[in-house]
Amino acid sequence: MNSLLTVRGLAVAVGGRTVVRALDLELGAGERLAILGRNGAGKTTLLHTLAGLRPPAAGHIDLCGAELAQTPPRLVAQLRGVLLQQQVDAFPASVLETALIGRHPWLKRWAWESAADARIARAALAAVDLAGFAARDVQTLSGGERQRLAIATLLTQQPRLALLDEPLSHLDLNHQIAALQLLSRTAQETGTALVMVMHDPGLAARYCDRALLVHGDGRVESGSAAAMLTAERLSALYQHPLRMVEADGQRCFLPL
């Protein structure tokens, strides 16, 4: 399998503290990786490093076979997309316009968004249940609607590797499941690899093939979701006892 993301000996430091040490990782087409850890453990910092938004403290990151730091930003933006943790809109803009910014890396300097670009954006809006919202001003959206718009923008970008920082934040229960199903379907149909920072180990077990546990002191563990997401490991990770319950073949984790 062709590797979309290859990480060798990666160290990530923030504010003089090493949060990730000696991380090796390989992610192929269609694979789904969950990143879990406590607040402030460095999950977002790690995700931004993988996205090329900040330099690693040590080690190498290859995106689609080429060194990430040496790849031109526009090409990087065609290959990998990022869902940021927060969306802040200082200026008014329509929902469709906002989804269309995902086409930016694909457009030449003087080009305007074509009808084909608009079709991609409208399909993405429909996929996140925002079909009737195209003309709405982003500043009037609720938190959950804004989050779904951010997911639609990422889908409009059509990256081969999608890095998502808490894709489920602000979403109600049915939209959480809908978003994860949509992302999984995209991974399956287009071969997009997913890296998702998540807080619910049960959902991670259900929708991800692999998991990466970030302990915050530099230690990381990675492996298959089944091997990583156990009561014992997660209790150690969150430093809070958890119990695993299996129902209908699904794992759930209850904090005690």
Binding site: P73, F91, E97, H104
Partner: protein
Amino acid sequence: MPSRRRALLLLAALAALALASLVAALLAGSYAVAPGAVWGALTGAGQDTAGAVVSGLRLPRALAAFACGGLLALAGALMQVLLRNPLADPYVLGISGGAAVGALLAMLAGLALAWINLLAFAGAFAAMLLVFGLARGDGSWTQTRLLLTGVIVAAGCSAVVALILSVAPEHQLRSMLFWLMGDLSHAGTPWPALLVLALGLAAALPLSRDLNLLARGDLIARTLGVQVRGLRGAVYVLASLLTAVAVTTAGSVGFVGLVVPHLVRLAVGNDQRVLLPAATLAGGSLLVIADTLARTVVAPQQLPVGVLTALLGVPVFLYLLSRQTKGSAT
């Protein structure tokens, strides 16, 4: 997102407005000139008094007004994107304050007009370098740091301006106040300002889709492949230079740089590909109209044009502000 066709139609309409405002400026004034004589003066046929008034006085002044208005509106639109703040204006980072210190020092020393302009430009440039250097100090170069540095430098400049005003001899005060309020009666030749306006717009337009992303935040722009550091530096320098040229030509004319991008944004949205040229045309037209009023409403007395733009701008701005707070409350 307006389609390209709609954008072109809108820009054509604004260009027509700009042309109409220039024609009105050529026709209006205490010396009555017939429309036919205006045409004659422009084509170089008439060599009479009417020709001299139109081509020697009104045309350069109207063009200077258009250039200054366009420069300020364009600089304001760029500053609003750079600071990600719809309430930013070209003067918020102290450029006009630096220019005012330079110009008033030249007036205090009794220097000629050329020196006043030169020192005004030097002052603006010095303020720009000062803010740039201080805001970049720790490498973070964030909006907040830039804004705070600019506001403090501007405050320092206005203290120096107040000092100059308080020690200046009385017969100089009037011209100093006119400069501070913005005045086009000593504008001189309009061509340098027009050239800078054209070059500035030509430099900004290729960046306009990148600017759309910058307006949405540094991080999101970077995730979509925009090289934010270089872009922000370029926008800062460009907006500062445009502002410096405008205040050198006409003093610190207020509110054009704040209100025009705002109004245009209400009408066409925040797509910089349309907003930047539209704001330039609208700003130019507004200042031509305001200046025509400034020299005709109480003729033969002339008002500083900055007073008129402020009188027009303040109520519009307050209205926008109240609308905005209402919008965010609901």
